[in-house]
Amino acid sequence: MPAPDPSTQDPADTGRYGAPRRLWRALDRHRPPGTDTVTRGWRSPLRGPWLTSVYGLALLVTLPLVVVTGLLDYAAYAPRFGQAFPTDVGWLRLPYFDWPTRPAWLFRLTQGLHVGLGIVIVPVVLAKLWSVIPKLFDWPPARSVAQVLERLSLLLLVGGILFQIATGLLNIQYAYVFGFDFYTAHYFGAWVFTAALVVHVVLKLPRLVTALRSRSPGAELRTPVAATRPEPPDPDGLVPARPGPPTVGRRGALALVGGGSLLLAALTVGQSFDGPLRRTAWLLPRGQDPGGGPNGFPVNRSVAAAGVRPEETGAAWRLTLRGGGTTATLDRAALLAMPQHTARLPIACVEGWSTVQTWTGVRLRDLAALAGVPEPASAHVRSLERTGLFRQATLQGNQVRDPDSLLALRVNGADLSADHGFPARVIVPALPGVHCTKWVSGIDFRADG
């Protein structure tokens, strides 16, 4: 007998047992009490491969974007300088490359997409899980080793997406109730999830295509509730054995989920804009009124939390520049006497919010020249902050040399406020906000990376 063509065969044959057959058959026979009640208890006439596949398709389009923007955000922290967290990730990262400074809104876009899409897909994820939940109570749970492994990967898939959503949502709302390091958990959680997602897509994509082709989307969108009928019985058992009468059509189910996503989008997108639009993110920390005046834009770390004292930033403050064997010390008046450059640049945070402001100060490349390193390969910036992961940052050569990269002294025509980094802060196009070091005390320019 010729071997069956693998491409037309089910990835994990549902009907037959693998080895050892006696074990799987015995498991099948010993149905725990209540299994049949549960199986016969599923009522929704909407559950079926088509609806699951529509939700699946929505996630298939959006999730890779969330994953890729997440990885790009990690790359934006320049991991080769050991300043992306977690630091020790082995081969689980993108290859090293210089994060560009152009377009200036690059990090704003990648991070805004990562967080924004992550929020917007929550209803789709919940709907997808709702549509397949009968599978959780299937008996037997497996008929072969293949099915055991696949179910295990589904635990990683579902655990992964819920873990990523939960930690992400808590992080952007500053509620660290989980008691572990967010960066470590969210980064490695993403890899576990991504690996499980690849498995799921490889194994289920043919099913998705078949199921989507089984019904016409146009016809579904025209079908009223009363005319909604269950899908024909499917091998996965998503279609209930004894469906109840429909209370919502498939059109309604899709509209409900889409509406939920739109509602979340409407309440989230504002955190990436300035002016009255920001207030539309009514339930998020970054939708609140940041105050008026030239310094009226969101703060990412308060001067009080940074532990920077007024006497350190007053007349006694000096900027120390090192490089090429020379050291230069400047006070604020000396910096203000240097050629000033003004640039309108966004600043974006890993929590997904961003703001665009007009910054004025000294070009970093002018400071590099002053320190005797006209073509720096990197620059190490230190802050007056005593604690915290981001009291220092290393900038790549391209980030120092960009004509809009500044040691900003003023914003929107006024001196920086204490919370925004007075007396001086770094602002570099497309650089993650926390690497735009505030309360700068010194910069070391390095010619050799």
């Binding site: 072969s144 990967s153 992964g160 509602l263 939390a305």
Partner: protein
Amino acid sequence: MARWLARLRAAYGAGPRHLLVLLLCFAVTGWVALRVSGEATWGRMLLWFVGAVIVHDLVLFPVYATADRALRGVLGVRTRPAGDGDTEPDPRRLALLNHVRVPALASALLFLVFLPGLLGWGADTYRAATAQERTPFLLRWLAVSGVLFLLSALLWLLRRARR
């Protein structure tokens, strides 16, 4: 080759591609587990990972499914499959059901997503990050929910009047 494949299929229960992608997946997961096991908080991470599944599948889903069945019971919309002599659900009751369901689901979704802000969790980290005091947004959520229910009710009345 064909015989070997057939034997794999019979014993394992699926083809080689199935086995290969799963092994890759578990290799990545294993590596991550090894790396994370060095963290002092690995137990909490595992707890949250598995806990998330348990909370969704065995708490959240049963709660909202039960709430929906209860709502249908109150509004008299049958859930059981059609038996002999049963009629189709009354479209007017169905409309009322859905005009309660939609704002209720939207409101629950907002509660779930914005929970930390609604309850004012992490006041200290919030202050450190934003230089502002955290005021719980619970009232705002109630207001948004109220508006959603109100809109839904108005729409329902409008639909009823048209009939």
